[in-house]
Symmetry: C2
Subunit: 452 residues, 2 copies
């Protein structure tokens, strides 16, 4: 079951805050998963949040901030002075602190970093160097790395000591004397191996890793392909810098997919249901204007054939079917290609073979849809020649849609643009414009026959 | 870096198979991650695979089959007799065996189950009951569950013994004397707690779980929300039946998103680049025909206004802009709604408020795009009245697109249809048909003014 809370629970929390009952608030917090509690807090007013943070302990505050959404975090931070915030930071993972600092106004961020211990300052400043969506921006510096000359018994002792600082102990990384990553070992192996064995002899020397500059999507691909619980981030010199755990990878995967879906529809990823109407207009209008430009392209094509349409006005009703169906078929081809590209399934040597298959499919689908359309059109206008043109134009436009649906994503990928997002507009522009051109052009060429 | 192999590596494997060099094949296998090896094997011919499986050990065979794609697995299984397959099963997780059996011809499946030990038979038959996309179909029965009265020392001893059988030991589940799930404990806690403490005192009694009948998407939502490494599957009576590990959850998330994307484009999720042209036509044509039906709806609307178009032929070029832009704006609204619905962010009490906002955004975007279009149209046709109609129709169609883009996904969700997949066709049908109707209708009503 989805553990959801209802509004009465929030009311109860409100009462506890009003009563300044810190003992029962502590019980309350223990009773719910941290993320559920963070969601309840997001329902509170600013003054209630200010009351709450005075009543909870530093580690409860740290957990609340870690689980809160970005904008809620800023609301909570506004109720805290720098001293309190710094003590809460002590209980947080460094990567979460960096994320949080990124959301703060620049002046407060600098102030807070200046007030930190110099060892923390160095780590934080180092992490701040990496873009938020890079492997470096995603990694945590809290992980267990053990020297390869330790015995199993020593290793287990270290883990007992370092364990509380890290989230994941399923996988332990092994480093040499220069802190270079040379292997990994699962805790399962450590627990079952003889105590005196050196961990170097047990470790798996095939460690999958990423560089800090790598895109977060690359880290996600590796974690999902190799079923990892964590992936280490290493410098070019192979020094271990941090790890990315699988829960953060899941967030990346969901975020990337949602962004792809939204961008495909021309929606800014920053927009949500709660954006104001001003924000929404500002974010959506640019995409609509780009589409307007492409719509004009199709419109100008129609305009070329004004006199033909005036003589056979039925063309104006049928032309939208031809262009629309080309768009639909092109989107199908496009989607198959985008998925194949993202899974790296498209073999260069077979491109021509696949393209020819898509064209064959396009022509056959075009012939089928064209035949149905031709029949309906015949019953509407009783003009056999018009029906023939409809059939030919449908086949022609589906031929075009197969070529564009195939080549546009391939070319965009070559140009290092994201085919999932950008392909659609190029393909539909082509199928609209060329769909009108083929249909009206055919009609124009054969006008005497059409009018007979 | 993505650890990819090149074609020479496959050639090397081919040579080792031809030379029947089982020692060097074993070295070869150890040298690559199991999934990479499985991909190399997928490049081999059937006869080479038959040669390979004779040269590798049972556990190497098990790992190869676990990491192979469904259709490759079947190819490998065809080269094996039942005895060999059953020994390989000994090294596999039960959920993987069940997945594999599901792909086999029904006769062979029954034969294999009949030949199993009766204890395995019971487990397999039980797992086969659940649909492949349910929590029960996804779970493994290899996990660690400890009785609540054990001490920490006893618990660690059990883990040392049971560890090798299970994949994940980060989280250990705690059961009472009736095997009911009553809590969970992290291995980290166990390692650092005093040896004589009962684990009942250390465990977290708030365990998030799913029932075996639950949809796999529900399990994925919980794992991602609560940052779990595994989620237990429990019966209604709270007995633990199995667990789902996070690597399987990642596969579910990726699969669900890919399916959504493809279905949105009218592509059957079974189709891929390697489908034959016959399969592709058979799978794509139905969706194209559905779209054709909706395209006729728009076409009939245009047909109603034949005589108007004949008198002002410019209408035919401009009308496609109005309908197309409505579709684009509707898709934007739709995407925002689909995401909000999937995240359960749409508060029922605020539906009217959000709808009014969308309408306001639609009208404003419509006014902006309409003004630009009106100006361009004026320079094309020098007809101020036509420009005025363009502006009004654009505002009207964007008003329509906001209402449909908002309500279609909400209503589909109410009807338990997937709004991510089905919304698009309803919204674009509405914006096409009503877009033509509003624009051509306005032109028809004011024809004398247009012709002046």
């Amino acid at each position: 079951m989805m553990r959801k809370f209802n509004i009465e629970v929030v009311e109860k929390l409100r009462c506890l805050i009003a009563a300044s009952d810190s003992v029962r608030i502590s019980d309350f917090i223990r009773h719910y998963p941290a993320i559920d509690f963070a969601e309840m807090v997001s329902e509170l007013e600013d003054t209630e949040i200010a009351g709450l943070v005075r009543l909870i302990s530093d580690d409860e505050l740290a957990s609340l901030m870690e689980e809160s959404e970005d904008r809620e975090r800023i609301r909570i931070a506004r109720t805290l002075d720098n001293r309190r915030l710094l003590t809460a930071f002590e209980y947080m993972q460094k990567d979460d602190i960096v994320d949080m600092l990124g959301d703060f106004p620049i002046r407060r961020r600098k102030e807070l970093i200046r007030l930190m211990k110099s060892s923390d300052q160095a780590i934080i400043n180092n992490l701040l160097k990496y873009p938020e969506d890079s492997a470096g921006g995603l990694m945590t510096t809290d992980y267990i790395a053990l020297h390869d000359d330790l015995t199993v018994a020593d290793a287990l002792d270290s883990i007992r000591h370092e364990g509380p600082k890290t989230d994941l102990i399923q996988t332990i990384f092994v480093i040499d004397s220069r802190r270079n990553l040379i292997g990994s070992i699962s805790l399962r192996q450590l627990l079952t191996a003889p105590k005196e064995t050196q961990i170097r002899r047990l470790m798996d020397a095939q460690v999958i890793s990423v560089t800090p500059e790598a895109d977060q999507e690359e880290a996600a691909l590796l974690v999902s392909r190799y079923d990892l619980y964590a992936i280490p981030v290493v410098s070019r010199a192979k020094q271990i810098l941090g790890i990315i755990t699988v829960d953060d990878i899941i967030d990346v995967i969901i975020e990337e997919y949602n962004n792809d879906m939204l961008q495909l529809a021309g929606v800014n990823v920053e927009e949500d249901l709660n954006s104001t109407w001003k924000e929404s207009v500002r974010m959506r209008l640019p995409w609509l204007l780009v589409n307007l430009a492409t719509a004009f392209l199709a419109s100008f094509t129609v305009n070329l054939f004004q006199s033909t349409i005036q003589q056979v006005v039925a063309l104006s009703a049928v032309m939208t079917i031809i262009s629309g169906m080309g768009g639909n078929a092109g989107t199908q081809t496009l989607s198959i290609l985008v998925r194949a590209l993202s899974r790296q399934e498209l073999d260069k040597k077979e491109i021509l073979h696949h393209l020819l298959k898509e064209i064959a499919v396009g022509v056959l689908d075009g012939a089928s849809c064209g035949a149905v359309t031709a029949i309906v059109v015949f019953f509407m206008y009783h003009n056999g020649f018009l029906s023939l043109i409809v059939l030919l134009a449908m086949i022609g436009n589906m031929f075009v849609s197969a070529i564009f649906g195939f080549l546009v994503p391939v070319i965009l990928q070559k140009c290092h643009a994201d085919p999932a997002v950008a392909s659609s507009i190029f393909v539909t522009t082509a199928t609209d414009t060329l769909g009108f051109f083929i249909f009206l052009g055919l009609a124009n060429l054969t006008l005497p026959l059409l009018l007979r």
